[in-house]
Amino acid sequence: MAKPDTQLPRFQVFLQEKTGQPHQDVGSVHASDPEMALLNARDVFVRRPECTSLWVVLADAIFSKTAQELEEQELGDKGLGDEGVKEESGEVENYYIFYKPKPTGTQTLVGEVPAAAPVEALRLALERFSGDKPPSAWWILPARRVLVSSPDDIESMFAPAQDKKFRLSTDFHTLTEMRRVKSEFGGQ
């Protein structure tokens, strides 16, 4: 029997490195709620790299489809996508559209669409954002479920990391130094 999951809910984290660049998936954090997820995301993902904006969303709120799934089954009523129904509010609302251009790529924000349900948002996304080469996977995020860092947060949450020295482990010359010590003292 599988052990019950004792971890807190999982949130997906999206990071924008510079203004004007798209938000991209960087990984996930566990947290009790969106505010804690945003703080955890800062601590886990923004200690070193540049960042101007962070988004977090409950992983369960993401409606996700791969190109292969879309090929194998028709997107429609009672077909693919009906499992996303729990996120429907019944009203038209905004959805953020992310896609992964290649199987090895990263989920990247391409735009947003108004729709009454995730599956409808995906249909619109397929028309608008597919391009010449269809992406390998789509993520559809209901905008109301996404917690977005405020521009006022940049100064205290993201900017201090830029002043800190970032050293790769190779900067410490540990291997060279240990080899030197070893040869000097006979490697006993």
Partner: protein, 264 residues
Amino acid sequence: MNSSLRHALSQHLLALADDELILGHRDSQWCGMAPLLEEDIAFANLALDEIGHALVWYTLLADLAGEDHYIYPDRLVYFRQIADFRNVQLVELPNGDWAFSMLRQYLFDTYETVYLAAAVGSAHQPLAEAAAKIRLEEIYHYRHTSAWVRRLGLGSVESQRRLQAALDKIWPYTGQLFALSPGDEFLVSAGYLPPSTILSSTWKDQVVPFLLDCGLQVPVESGDEDTQTGRFHPPLSRERHTPHLKVLLRELQSVPRLEPQAVW
């Protein structure tokens, strides 16, 4: 700067630096032990930030003493005797449980944000500049720790019980944060620092309503009044330490003292 002002300033910088160093060391002891992976990383970040802030203050102290930026902080941290440390007892206390560590960090972060907000207006330019820089990170610390305290206080019966127990234990130690050090009057009259009473009342006005809002009972209103129960320390001088500091420093200073001449 006359010599009494210079002496008072160096004692003040030492107190700032030692608080950050000892709290940073306590925070680092959570590394690998925190209840959640994400929080383990967050607390290691906090520890690094606090130790980084300590270095900022030690460096100002080196400037004031005409000492080397690189050597002097290490000498103060690794080769000073316990009696010469000027941190408050609050930061010496062992980590206890998660609620204790989080609440201590929250109370200290609030004190620091209040202090730094005032210190950015200091007439001593290097102090004002350092405060402005450190303050940004402390705003984030405050956000993180206050978020946790609220969730522990309003969470389960168990989390609230632990947080209340932590508050009962920690609260008496908070008075020392605002204890006057010899020479503070020179710093205040030179416009280097605001009066400690203003910091203390600003801190309380912020902390007490927040803790009540988190479902906690705040033990007593003011540190100096409750002499009957003896629960509250009168604000002790920063020269007074608990036995815990000795244990902490023995570990912190052990490696450099093995071989003081070693080059790193």
